[in-house]
Symmetry: C2
Subunit: 264 residues, 2 copies
């Protein structure tokens, strides 16, 4: 189970202020906390308030800071291809691109970029018509991404299909479809692509957010989830992920497995 720490995102107030003031400390602190918390990647997102022309520079600054403060690779999170590429240029090690959709023009931009920089890439099971409701329709879009990624020579273990979980309070009927999609994505290719979710989406504007997040996470793990963009500074969430990982026999049980999971 690979956790991708979500906290370096301009959507959060402290990070937005750090970006506006070019204050490195909050960025470095979140990189360290998430690294110690059990993250395998640090997601970096400039957030919605940075102008399009400033995004490449801010992305570069965030990636450098996150990698100064932690040994982890980054998950470059932007809808702006220039920002993604600016991040890739300064990134050390194997980055992850977050994300392409199944729209042809986006795949034609991001998949060659992933191939050029030997980066992993997240493929969202949606297109310009939106997010399908049924597992089958999500899988059809996932298959388009799988086929295009393969055509660009991207190894399947570098492709992370995200079936897109929506908030349970407005799209409850989607949640079991997401779980079914996770199960079936593994049948689309051999070796199979990996799977990822943007976990915190499931609980947007709900009470009990941490409970919803960690419960959905381990249910998704039981259905084959490989990775999640999540709040790795939430210790209960990481404990739940580590416990599901052990129960699925992905790592040998030891009494101190919670500590081991964080130290991998």
């Amino acid at each position: 189970m690979e956790l991708i720490g979500e906290r370096i995102n301009g959507m959060f107030k402290d990070v937005r202020e750090a970006i506006l003031n070019r204050d490195p400390e909050p960025i470095k602190r979140h990189a360290v906390l998430q690294s110690q918390g059990g993250a395998r990647y640090i997601d970096v997102n400039t957030g919605p308030t940075v102008s399009a022309e400033d995004q490449p520079g801010v992305m570069e600054w965030l990636v450098k800071l996150a990698q100064e403060a932690s040994p982890l690779p980054c998950c470059l999170d932007s809808t702006n291809p220039d920002a993604i590429e600016a991040g890739l240029k300064v990134h050390r090690g194997k980055a992850m691109i977050n994300s392409t959709t199944a729209d042809q023009w986006k795949m034609d931009v991001y998949l060659p970029m992933a191939a050029k920089y030997n980066a992993a890439i997240i493929g969202l099971a949606m297109n310009d018509k939106g997010v399908p409701k049924d597992a089958n329709d999500r899988l059809a879009l996932a298959m388009e991404i799988v086929a295009n990624a393969d055509a660009h020579g991207i190894p399947m273990p570098d492709l992370y299909i995200d079936p897109l979980v929506l908030p349970v309070n407005v799209a409850q009927e989607h949640v079991p479809e997401v779980l079914e999609t996770l199960r079936q994505v593994k049948l689309l290719a051999s070796p199979a692509p990996r799977t990822v979710v943007g976990l915190s989406n499931v609980s947007q504007r709900c009470p009990n957010r941490p409970l919803l997040n960690r419960t959905f996470l381990v249910m998704a793990q039981a259905c084959g989830l490989d990775a999640a963009i999540a709040d790795v500074e939430d210790g209960d969430l990481v404990d739940a992920a580590a416990t599901a990982h052990i129960l699925l026999n992905k790592e040998i049980y030891c009494d101190s497995y919670l500590k081991t999971f964080r130290q991998r």
Copy 2:
């Protein structure tokens, strides 16, 4: 999701002492707490220290007390058929028998009893050779129970197949097999039998027992689990079960779903 409260069991010290002293108060207190906590059944088990000849009388006493203190039906838990039948005779409403194995002599005792008293019954996917390691072997034993139950006219929704989860620290490789068994049991008949686990087994002699229990519970729910014998007095466990139930779209989401789950 049906939770079966495990606490009225002579294995626990307070209940053992209550049985020895014929003190009704601890029994009634656990019946009330479990009923308020969200249980749908109250498991009653005389425990290992009551002699075989005393077990029917103690079972009768426990069932009467539990049903005086709560409106719930009981899950009659014993390896002694006389104790089970003594409980059935005084039980009000639809009881559950816990349990038969796939051994023919046991099925020949307990299945006619379930039919006679119109009780639900738990069928353990094991026989006198022990608990199989693989999902397929568990399913073969489950199928024997399904066929025998059907021959006795027991409706499939009254049969709860228990794939038998073992402690993760000694039988870790069994855990994913249990999850796979839960998925496939639903294919054995139409309508399908239900599924149940004795949840606390998964964490025997482990640290972090509540965390292991609630994590395994929601993973099993994601694989189709219908019921669990569990510590319903553990509020975090019930919260997790209620949350998984909502995420599976088994009941309409509302912001107060945790309260609603306990009040059903």
